[in-house]
């Protein structure tokens, strides 16, 4: 029976190894360029633009879309996991290089260059905060600039909660422009638009390139006293690209200065409101503006599902097999050397208490982004149930059985393989089952660091507020969890002796 187990594990490992080379070879290839983007629509569109522009030049590009957060992207860029990603000047100053007193653009470029990063010229739009109101009201009252608001103290303001608190938000805006309005409320951003529609609010805060600006027919008021810091969109890229592939940099920089604010609003709207894909929107834009013929193809839901399934299984199968191979021996050690074992169980228990999202992100400095850190985190998560169940399965063997085994004169290794492990098999298998179900669910978080899987459509769905898309990830993930559970129930007759299964009925 044990040899069967071994053979199966070996099979899984071999299968996993067949999958691995594609992944790792891709990572090692020298002429490959990795473009990253953050998990909001505008960033993904800019990432797609870079992707289609470069792929058109015959460059081997991968777009790792929808990665979680500024720090993850910037660190990946510095470490070389990414070569290019779109960023905003304000974010670089306020978030990435916060605490460095940088006074002008030259100092900023110098600082980035010292980290091996170059910054493109602005792409043409400034996505900072703006103050907006309905166009018809603005025209009626002849309001064009923020300072014009001074003349209308009766206007009702509704600002996002974040804007109410920010350093450059409402309190300082009020001071700078000396605004007289009293009716100022903190509200949810999305409710703000509806408030404007039904007239309960007159003025809200916006991002300059929000898709909704066109949709709700809003006017952005000019920041005539230059209150808001600039959030010019730029590309950050690794300086070694210049030597690795100067042509590439040249073609990337063709995007400098060509995307106006109104153009970006339209692009965002096409994705967020009209439901087109970022790739389609980006490639059409390149065709229009740069005369670049792009080979855009619409990916079908089925193709996406297959891709996501492949990526998800890749994460689960490798991390779970590794966990099984490591955790069962650890469980045996825990049983044999209880003092060390308790320490081990405690340690693995602590790992389990780290929120899964945090654990996945912790892996980035060690393993970069992509499948590797996700697999490492899932591996660590899968250890505890298997170690614990192996240990308790062995510990719960009745004394008379372990003494009988000993009295037969079998050496301890043989006792473990022929008697103790088979007696603990049901407990071990149920530990593996638990680990597998946790693993399948947690693997959806891998998408945040570019590992793909069923988390990808969930992430996109959350970003676009598209329930259908969320379900495209959530339903297969749930089905896979059920499937995995079913699979282990089918495996039970193979791994758990009939003689033990008889016991549950009596």
């Amino acid at each position: 029976m044990i040899s069967k187990t071994k053979r199966l594990l070996l099979g899984i490992v071999i299968a996993a190894n067949f999958c691995l080379p594609q992944e790792s070879m891709a990572g090692d290839s020298k002429d490959e360029v990795n473009v990253g983007s953050k998990k909001f629509t505008e960033s993904v569109i800019l990432g797609e633009m870079a992707y289609y522009l470069l792929i058109n030049n015959g460059i081997n590009v991968i777009h790792k879309a929808e990665l979680g957060g500024t720090q993850i992207l910037f660190k990946s860029l510095v470490q070389g996991e990414l070569d290019i990603y779109p960023e905003y000047t304000g974010t670089i100053l306020q978030e990435i290089l916060a605490g460095e007193s940088i006074k002008n653009e030259d100092e900023l470029k110098d600082k980035l260059a010292s980290m091996g990063i170059l910054m493109s010229e602005p792409l043409g739009f400034n996505n900072s905060y703006v103050i907006g109101m309905k166009k018809e009201i603005a025209e009626k009252l002849n309001i064009n600039k923020v300072s014009d608001l001074r003349n209308y103290p009766e206007l009702k303001f509704g600002f996002s909660n974040e804007f109410m608190d920010r350093e450059d938000g409402w309190p300082s805006l009020q001071r700078k422009y000396n605004l007289p309005q009293r009716d100022v409320r903190g509200i949810d951003h999305d409710i703000g638009y509806r408030g404007l529609e039904n007239g309960s609010i007159d003025v809200i805060d916006l991002y300059a390139t929000d898709a909704e600006i066109d949709y709700y027919n809003l006017k952005s008021l000019e920041d005539d006293l230059n209150h808001f810091p600039e959030y010019q969109a730029v590309f950050l890229y690794r300086s070694d690209l210049v030597t690795r592939n100067p042509e590439l940099v040249k073609s990337l920089l063709r995007l400098e200065g060509i995307i106006s604010e109104s153009a970006m609003i339209k692009l965002n709207a096409e994705v967020k409101l009209a439901g087109k894909s970022e790739g389609e929107v980006a490639s059409r834009f390149l065709e229009r503006e740069l005369n670049v013929e792009t080979e855009f193809y619409q990916v079908t839901i089925i193709d996406k599902l297959i891709q996501n399934t492949y990526e998800h299984l890749f994460l689960v199968v490798i991390s779970l097999s590794a966990a099984i191979i490591i955790a069962i021996p650890l469980g045996i050690v825990t049983y044999k050397i209880p003092r060390f074992g308790q320490l081990l169980l405690g340690l693995i228990g602590v790992i389990q208490t780290i929120p899964s999202l945090a654990l996945i992100v912790f892996m980035i400095p060690l393993l970069g982004i992509g499948a590797k850190p996700a697999i490492a985190a899932l591996f660590l998560y899968s250890l505890l149930p298997i170690v614990r169940n192996t240990y308790s399965g062995l510990k719960d063997i009745p004394l008379q059985l372990s003494e009988s085994a000993e009295a037969l004169g079998l050496p301890s290794k043989v006792r473990m393989m022929k008697i103790e492990l088979p007696l603990a098999s049901r407990s071990i298998l149920s530990g593996i089952k638990t680990a597998a179900v946790i693993n399948v669910g947690t693997a959806t978080l891998g998408a945040i660091i570019g590992a793909g899987g069923y988390g990808q459509p969930i992430l996109t769905g959350i970003r676009l507020d598209d329930t259908g898309l969320i379900l495209q990830g959530a339903i297969p993930a749930a089905l896979l969890a059920f499937g995995v559970q079913g699979l282990f129930e089918l495996l039970e007759p193979i791994f758990v002796s009939k003689g033990l299964r008889l016991g549950e009925n009596s």
Binding site: L401, E403, E406, A407, L408, G409, L410, L423
Partner: protein
């Protein structure tokens, strides 16, 4: 055959066995008897080396038992415990041949030996492929005995071998067991709490209490000449029940 020399064993605060001497000769049957917790099970576990004595020594055929020769010696001893101690994940026949397979006996030899044993214990051959949970209590005990006898050991240790059986089966099996002991002519050390059973099997009885041997002798000696009140009470308590 087996000699325990002045052995003592303590479990935390409890002195389970204190300064016991025991000599088991070839073909002799010694029965350890006493109330529960008297140390008789501990003593038999000391004899097969599942636990090591704190003090004293165990000799098997004149050889001091050490961790090095323990495995070897265990294979020369058959061990049967209450409810058989059969491995539930293995069928009856797998239980019986487990050690022989480990020792790489060829399959004919195994087959022949199992045939002899089923004849000896009157075990139905058809039930050999069953799992322990599919067997009756008496059958389980026979399988356990066959497993203990598989390597043709020189000595049998039995810890309450019939303790879990109902009285009818128990009486039948007592007869059979005694017959088997006689026909095999092996040294037997048996533990029971039942003075009748002790008297039925024993050449010599060791009556234990609180880890000590109170009295040693034949059943007749214990009946006629109890060393103290406890021995008298222990024997009469069980007698009066009938």
């Amino acid at each position: 055959m087996l000699r325990l020399k002045n052995v003592s064993k303590k479990f935390e605060e409890l002195q389970a066995v204190s300064s016991v001497d025991l000599n088991l000769w070839e073909r002799e049957t010694i029965v350890l008897v006493g109330p529960s917790g008297c140390g008789k099970s501990t003593l038999i576990r000391l004899a097969i080396g599942i636990i090591a004595p704190d003090e004293g020594e165990v000799y098997f055929k004149g050889e001091l038992v050490t961790p090095e020769n323990l495995m070897e010696i265990r294979r020369k001893i058959g061990y049967v415990i209450q409810e058989g101690g059969l491995f539930p994940h293995l069928t009856a026949i797998q239980n019986i041949r487990l050690v022989a397979e480990y020792l790489n006996w060829d399959s004919d030899k195994i087959k022949n030996r199992i045939k002899e044993l089923t004849d000896l214990t009157h075990f139905p051959v058809g039930a050999l492929e069953r799992f322990p949970l599919e067997l009756s209590g008496g059958q389980r005990q026979r399988v356990s005995l066959m497993r203990a006898l598989m390597l043709d050991p020189e000595m049998l240790l039995l810890d309450e071998p019939l303790g879990a059986l109902d009285p009818m089966i128990r009486a039948d099996l007592q007869d059979e067991l005694k017959e088997i002991f006689r026909s095999l002519g092996k040294a037997v050390l048996l533990v029971t709490h039942d003075i009748h059973e002790a008297g039925f099997f024993a050449d010599e009885i060791l009556l234990m209490k609180d880890g000590k041997v109170l009295q040693q002798g034949s059943i007749r000696e214990l009946l006629d000449d109890p060393v103290d009140d406890f021995v008298k009470k222990f024997i009469s308590a069980q007698r009066n029940r009938v």
